[in-house]
Symmetry: C2
Subunit: 407 residues, 2 copies
């Protein structure tokens, strides 16, 4: 075999690569390679977009700036055009350490950043994202620590007559050891699915980092799909590539709650779990907080730790009257749950959250019952920023008294 | 607790949702909801984009049209603007059943489709995608059949002094049963990573569907990261959110090949595998084909099935001379491998592939040695379309004679 010309092959690969990514000759030769976002040492950020014929370009993101702790992240920055057709904007202040999402508005058209391969989906919307390192950003970043594994598994749900998908995080050391682990069931909000806590929720990064820091103990985290009309996240089921929808049928009508034992049964059968109350936690955001509230009182002996993150407190659900059992006798069932003495009942909400008032009423109810709970009030509203904070706080405050490895 | 106003809360959720996705008031009220892509019954497709002030908008995709089997998918369609600022284009012909990627060119700016939540990443480029159902498209779709699970696992690689990430597909029935399974090691190309075969490669869908149809037997598919300078895919390692790069150091210098037993050891220790030659296959695309070629001859007793998909045939690697052992004595090592009589040595390449000639020379070498192999030549070039076809053909032609369930 004759000497193969290495350089020719490598050049060929490069050309094929360039052709594929450019998708047309025109774009291939006209598009400069841009660095966007560029995070500066001082914490300010520069955004860049090649849009040679645009009239007006803005960058829009949920940024928190230094010296302005009250801002809620509705930042819009005007971009200016240079001679090469590249629009640019640098934030006038440093951004606080966080994970931020952003997009560009080009003459009224909203797009994500073509120079940034990192996007996350929230319901049907893709947004570009970046992280400002520091205390908070580091917690949401993949660090040089032992990592848990993520599994996307299909389980049978006889109650729903369906095969459904969930995400399962197993902590570092799970494969190598033989111990049983506690389990956190972590539920998403409306329009979300079994992917949500993995992407914008940064569940794996938060758990990896808190476990490595000794701030929580290793646990299994189960993230099911809370939309019983779905088998799985959009694109992952036999429903095909139908676009994700925010409001789905059968989400808060009792079916998720009354079929929940199918999930627990699968997890306890397929993972090394502590199969008792003090080894189980349940938490959820918004609609998932609603689910966690009702599931934990429907099965009062199942969970010792309950977390309601910006929970949609709807004592009566929103179903028709065909599945009422889960929602009847709200306070009576709560009383039974608290007679079973859960070790932690945790409520978190932002001061600007539109669900603030119903959460306040719920706390009044709990106070009237004379039961104990932990309450955390934060800045801001109904946002992933708050839900990441609540998850971090919640997992740092439970399972500690369980037997197991000292950390 | 007073009666909670369900409608108010639901309205609140909707408003928050709309605010989040729109990211600005302007976009919230000005952007119409568009259906794009819209796949018509006759197989033609309409694309839509809201870009009220754009001057020229094109849709660019890798489409194959009915009646034109020679076209290689460099389709560009002019979009026309209607009075609402929406640009639209309908393909003049039906598209053949396939998975297609596309993007929009707006006055020279390349973007993915803001109305389509389904994107896949190829190196640093995100493209929108859709599927035209039919024989080929169905094979790449999630169907109503039993599904395998996907695991993202971290394993120790002592040879590389690193902890690294891989994707593992376990077939339907794996969790429920006790059988040992054969394993396919499936390698990505340059610029790819452990996610590539899961996204554009449609590995899980192809395996689920072929297993359900009885066209291949249940197997474990292991998809490692072939870039030894990386721990994991971009964004999934402690390297942070550095943008993905096409050419990385140390990709074809022998380190992937000589550290490969770390992967096999992990898989054989953590999964129920048939730990023998007839239970192991290895295949890869482009650079991954190069890796599969060299790994399989370096360990001539390890694999009974070898697949080279558009392989970069570089007998000497591209490393410096510090790790030559893997690449020396090319033909001699090949001869040893064939003395060990692999059951299948499979080569696939497209007629337009820039690697066609080196593959032809390689076949001449094999012919000169008088060894047997299976050769599949297709239309087209160095594309995921071909690699999906090769994977489907390859897995349909091995492991059949192994003992196990009849299908």
């Amino acid at each position: 075999m004759r000497q193969v010309k290495v350089r020719e092959i490598l050049f060929g690969l490069l050309v094929v690569f360039a052709m594929c990514t450019a998708a047309s000759q025109e774009a291939l030769w006209s598009r400069p390679s841009l660095k966007s976002p560029e995070i500066h040492r001082d914490g300010s950020v520069t955004f860049r977009l090649y849009a040679p014929e645009a009239n007006r370009v803005e960058v829009s993101g949920d940024f928190l700036m230094t010296g302005n702790p009250e801002n809620q992240g509705a930042y819009v920055g005007e971009m200016t055009r240079n001679e090469d057709g590249v629009w640019e904007h640098t934030t006038p202040f440093a951004l606080l350490s966080e994970l931020y999402t952003y997009s560009f508005l080009v003459d009224g058209m909203r797009i994500n950043d073509p120079s940034n391969a990192f996007v996350c989906r929230d319901v049907a919307t893709l947004s570009s994202y970046f992280i400002i390192q520091g205390e908070t950003g580091d917690l949401y970043s993949v660090a040089d620590v032992p990592h848990g594994n993520i599994e996307k598994v299909w389980y049978a749900s006889p109650s729903l007559n369906a095969v459904r998908r969930m995400s399962v995080y197993t902590p570092p050391g799970y494969r190598q050891g033989k111990d049983d682990y506690p389990v956190l069931y972590l539920l998403h909000g409306m329009g979300g699915d079994e992917e949500a806590w993995q992407t914008l929720g940064r569940e794996a990064q938060i758990l990896d980092n808190l476990i490595a820091a000794g701030k929580t103990r290793p646990m299994i985290v189960v993230m099911p799909n809370g939309n019983v009309s779905q088998q799985a996240a959009p694109g992952e089921s036999s429903g095909g590539l139908a676009q994700p929808e925010f409001m789905l049928p059968r989400t808060m009508n009792g079916e998720m709650e009354t079929s929940f034992m199918d999930i627990v049964t699968y997890v306890d059968s397929n993972y090394r779990t502590m199969q008792r109350k003090e080894g189980r936690a349940i938490a959820g955001l918004s609609m998932g907080g609603f689910h966690a509230l009702h599931i934990s009182k429907y099965y009062p002996e199942l969970f010792d730790y309950v977390g309601l993150f910006s929970a949609a407190i709807l004592p009566g659900g929103i179903g028709d009257d065909t599945l009422p059992i889960i929602y009847t006798d709200f306070e009576k069932k709560l009383a039974v749950q608290f007679l079973n003495a859960p070790k932690l009942y945790w409520i978190g909400i932002g001061r600007e959250d539109f669900l603030y008032e119903v959460n306040k009423e719920f706390r009044t109810t709990l106070d009237g019952m004379g039961v104990k709970y932990v309450y955390r009030e934060t800045e801001g509203g109904h946002t992933w920023r708050n839900w990441r904070i609540y998850l971090s706080a919640f997992v740092s405050s439970f399972f500690k008294e369980l037997p197991g490895r000292d950390r």
